[in-house]
Structure formats: C-alpha cells, structure tokens
Amino acid sequence: MSVPETVLEVRDLKVHFPVMAGALVRKQVGSVKAVDGVSFDVQRGETLGLVGESGCGKSTTGLAILRMIDITSGEVKFEGEDISAYDRSRMRPIRRRMQMVYQDPFGSLNPRMKVSEIVGEPLEVHGLASNRAAYDTRVASLLDMVGLLPDMADRYPHEFSGGQRQRIGIARALALEPSLIICDEPVSALDVSIQAQVVNLFQELQERLGLTYIFIAHDLAVVRHISHRIAVMYLGRIVEIAPRGELYAKPLHPYTQALLAAIPIPDPEVEATRPQQIIIGEVPSAMRPPPGCRFHTRCPRVMDVCKSVDPPMRDMGGGRAVACHLYEA
C-alpha cells in the first residue's frame, strides 16, 4: 500500500448540546453548537493538529470521532467504515483501533491500580492476553516502548512524575495496537522541560509504528512542531487548514494571523522587530455565535458581507483551504 490511505474522513460534523431551563417543566431553550460543520481527512502516518482557543470545539471534535459523545449530524468514516451511527457494541471493535491520550496525567490514571493493570487492562477487556505470562511480557514491552523500566509495572501512579504518568497513558493507548491516536492537550499540563521529552516520544512512536495522530492543543508552537497539517478552529468551525510550513509562512485567515501574532517567540531580538498586532475582544459564547462569519466581531479586516454571510470553506490548492470572504474569487 504505497498510496496514501485515508484513515479518517470527517464530513460536516455537528455536535450540539441542548441547553435546558425551567424549574418545574424543563425545556430546551437553546443549544451550544460546540462543533458546527467540521470536515477534514487524516491520512495514514500523518499528524493532523487541531488548534484553537477554549470553546472552539477542538476537544469535542476528538470525543465525537471516538463516539464518546453523541454526534448531532454529519459523518465520521474510520478506515472506510461509516461509524457515525454505531451503537456501543458496534463501536467496541472500532475502539481497539482508535485510542485517546488525555491532558491530565493525574486525573486520567486510576490511583488504585498498579501500572501493570492500567497498561494491561485494555488487553484484558478485549481478551488479547491468553495467559499471565503473555500479559506480563506485553506490558513489559509496552513500558519499554514509552521509555519506562519494566520494574515500574508494580508501582502506583502517585509514585510517578507528570511526564512519566503521561508515558503510562501513552503505553495504555498503545496496548491494543491502534492505528489512530487522538491526543487531547497531551503536554499542556507538563513542565516546559518535560514537554519536549513527550513530544519526541510521540514522534518516535509514529515513525516506529506508523501511527496516525490527531493532536489537539492550544499551543500553536507545539502543534506546528508535531503536526504535518494544521486545522485552526474558531467557535465550532475550521477556519483554515494548511500544511505546517505554509501556515506559519503565509497564514491566510485573519484569525490564524492573529493567533500566530499573539504567540511570542522566545528570542528578544526577534520580538523587538515583530509587528505587534493584537486583536481585540474575546471568543463569543458558542450558544449565540455571531451571524455571518463567526470571527467578524473581532476581525481587523471585517467587511460588510462578513456580518451576514457565512463564508464557505474554499480550496486554495496545495492542501490549503480557508473560510474567509477575503479570498473569494
């Protein structure tokens, strides 16, 4: 299989959460459009970065793909199979091939379980270890794969540092040999000097095992470093998608430009000469997104059309697409 193979196809994905009110009779008074029409593909062996500020829907998109929350509408195709309407039992074999690594290495590991149980539990759930010896061997090799020592298997999560706990979470995710791993802010809770260790581990594992990643984070510098392509999200939509080099060299969407400009570069000489263009305001509520282009309330280049017409995603060639009226032919 030398042709790039599409691991995941997401088409017009929507996840709306109902907002209820009323003391005696609860009724729906609105909805939070957490994800509101998101489409993208992910190729085998690729890392797609999902980046955006809080409330942009990046984490919800990840959870919806794994079907850990209900999809309102749209299509999620995993390895050619449309899983958007699958129920729990039909999702079970799919989940073997799709795993998740969470942000909080403290909250996501059961403190009462030994590392060997945490890492090996998926093997047991899916009946993949025939006997104790096979189980132990597999756990040892998983720990080795993430750079932990075999004798750590008998310890409990509290005995580990944040970086080591994240390695345990990764080992657990790898246990079932998944093809896709969704990483939700996997390094944001770690100290700066530890982040690089974990980022490198993700990259090494991808090369060794041919893994496909969706890497969700708010830190554009980290996302750009690890991802081959990046989708920038704002209020439930993808506003721009581009290969990592192009995204920084020539960001098209004003929001991407603002996001890049907001992130300081760790070099005072560079910072002294960088234009400081800071956009105003904060992300509006996802319950009442602005009409037209959702970014128009904060956009430095807003035009009349932006206030009423929602810009469609436009293919710009070279793997780039942008949803902005500035780029209409």
Partner: protein
C-alpha cells in the same frame, strides 16, 4: 539606587518530610520602571519568592528564614504588620494567576477596586467609586461605567484579569508583582493582557516583576531575567544577553527544548532528561547536576552565583566554558 533589593532571601516550609527550602539564598535588584521576569518550572521557587517579598507566606507552615527585602530604603521583613499592610496594594501591588479566586465573588468589581483607594488614600467612597470607573476604562474594559456595579461572575476571564490590573493600579504603586497573570487565559487574550500590563506600568513608571514559565513571554516583555531552578537563581542578566549567550546548562536546555514558531518544523527537540527536582530531596551541590550533560565531580559542591560578565550572573562551575560554546 534600586527600588527593590532582595538579599539572600530564604523561605522554608515545614512538611511531613522535614523542612523544605522553597527559596534558597535568592538575591536580585530591581530599578524603577524596569520589568524583571522570574522564570522557572513548577517548584522552582518563583512564586514563593514573589509571595515572600510581600510577606504573604502562610505561617505556619511557611517561614521566611533569612535575608532582607529592601524596598525604597526600608526592609519589608522588619516592618510591623500594620506597616506592611500599608505597603500592600498601595506601593506594591500583586496580580495573581487565577483572577476568579482572587476577587471576592460577593462584592461588586467597582467596590473591590475602590477599596484600596479608600483605605490607603482616605478617599471618600463616592469619589473612590468614580476613580474605580476611571481605572476600568483605563484597562479598556468595555462599558467600564456600567460594569463598576457588576460582580466578578458576570465577567469573562480576560475581563476579570483587566479588573485585577485596575485594582493593582488603584494607588499608583511603584512595583507590581504579577504571578503567571495570563496562564489561565486564551492565547489572544493573554497577548492583550500582557500588552496592557506593560503599557500601564510603563505609563506610570512602575517596576514590574513578571513570574512566568513561558520563555516567549519573557522575550517579549522583560528587560531582565532571573532563571530559577530548585529554589535558587541559576542565571540572571539582561534578557537579550541571556537569550543570546545563556551561561547555565539549564537555561541552554530550556531554550533547546521549546519549539519556536519561526523555526523549521519537524526537527527533533532536544529535551532535558529527567524531571525537575523534589525540593524535599535536593541533590547536594548543584540541583541541576543529575540532569546535566556536563555534570562532573565538582558539581557536588554548590556553585555560587558569580559574575560571568559585568551584568550576567551564572551559578555553574563551567560558566566560562559555556559562554564559548553557545552561538556555534
């Protein structure tokens, strides 16, 4: 003549596992109008240093065990409680990381900003409230006039931090200490708040101590930098100098381990191996030695913070050799 001079400051905490030195022999100076960044990871002692300056260390379990903090000619550590209270929020103001937990949820924002003006300046409440509205406008809170009567929960995270800055500015302090003021905020809001903080401190010629873990924030806003590790300052100097010619292996390691937007993507980062130290169990000598590629026998002796060049300090036995290496 410096505005603030911290000399050999040590702060310790009594814990189940013995006495932990969170800040160990820290010294630095700050001139009027200057922005100093204190950079470090969790447990480096950067926040405890900031809290110690204003004597905000809970005692017990904490205790400032040694040193002096000379502010405008007087040692804050020798002042009476009444005297230090007259300094806090008046001549030295503090901005915390989590604006929601530092604002009183049951008082209006305006009242909380007016309080220090009423307290320290003896301004009548009505006039203090007018001043609060003025300050909210100065930190560019939209609809400042009507928002004076709002409660903190009616504000977004960015608005709350603007209110905190307004409160800090209320008595025109000579020094503002901001402890990770934007860590809880979104990227674009973070840029707004930091730019605002820099702008208002510059306009008032206030000095600013910015506590952060973000090397990018330091590069954009700081004049000078102290890098902390394991409760100690390991390197200090002008920001440009530190970034161009770092003279401590920890600083060098940190810079190599963060991805930069302006660099070729896809290359491997060079991480610092191991984890930040446990303060209850620091290695003898240099706290960074167990993670340091250059560590040698001599590193079992504690390196002093020495002048590598007239304005650049490093606490590494090999600081002279390091300077020759960087830049190649």
């Amino acid at each position: 003549m410096s505005l603030l001079s911290v000399r050999n400051l040590s702060t310790e905490f009594r814990t189940e596992r013995g006495v932990v030195k969170a800040v160990d022999d820290v010294s630095f100076d700050l001139a009027a109008g200057e922005t100093l960044a204190i950079v470090g990871e969790s447990g480096s002692g950067k926040s405890v240093t900031a809290m110690s300056i204003l004597r905000l260390i809970p005692n017990p379990p904490g205790r400032i065990s040694a040193g002096e903090v000379v502010f405008d000619g007087r040692n804050l550590l020798e002042m009476s409680d009444a005297e230090i209270r007259a300094i806090r929020g008046n001549r030295i103001a503090m901005i915390f990381q989590e604006p929601m937990s530092s604002l009183n949820p049951s008082l209006t924002v305006g009242l909380q900003i007016a309080e220090p003006i009423n307290l320290h300046r003896r301004t009548p409440w009505a006039a203090a409230m007018d001043k609060a509205a003025e300050l909210l406008a100065r930190v560019r809170l939209p609809d400042a006039k009507s928002r004076v009567k709002a409660y903190p929960h009616q504000f977004s995270g960015g608005m709350r931090q603007r209110a905190m800055i307004a409160m800090a500015l209320a008595c025109q302090p000579q020094l503002i200490i901001a402890d990770e003021p934007t860590t809880a905020l979104d990227v674009t809001v973070q840029a707004q708040i930091l730019a605002l903080l820099k702008e208002v401190t510059r306009a008032a010629n206030s000095a600013l101590i910015l506590i952060t873990h973000d090397l990018g924030v330091v590069a954009r806003y700081a004049d000078r930098v102290c890098v902390m590790y394991g409760g100690r300052i390991v390197e200090a100097g002008p920001a440009r100098e530190i970034y161009a010619r770092p003279r401590h292996p920890y600083t060098i390691g940190l810079m190599a381990s963060v991805p930069r937007l302006d660099q070729e993507a896809g290359s491997r980062l060079v991480p610092i191996e191991g984890s930040p130290p446990n303060l209850a169990n620091l290695p003898p000598g240099c706290a960074f030695a167990p993670r340091c590629r250059r560590a040698a026998d001599i590193c079992r002796q504690r390196p002093m913070l020495v002048r590598s060049t007239p304005d650049h300090l490093s606490a590494c036995h090999f600081h002279a050799q390091l300077s020759a290496h960087v830049g190649t």
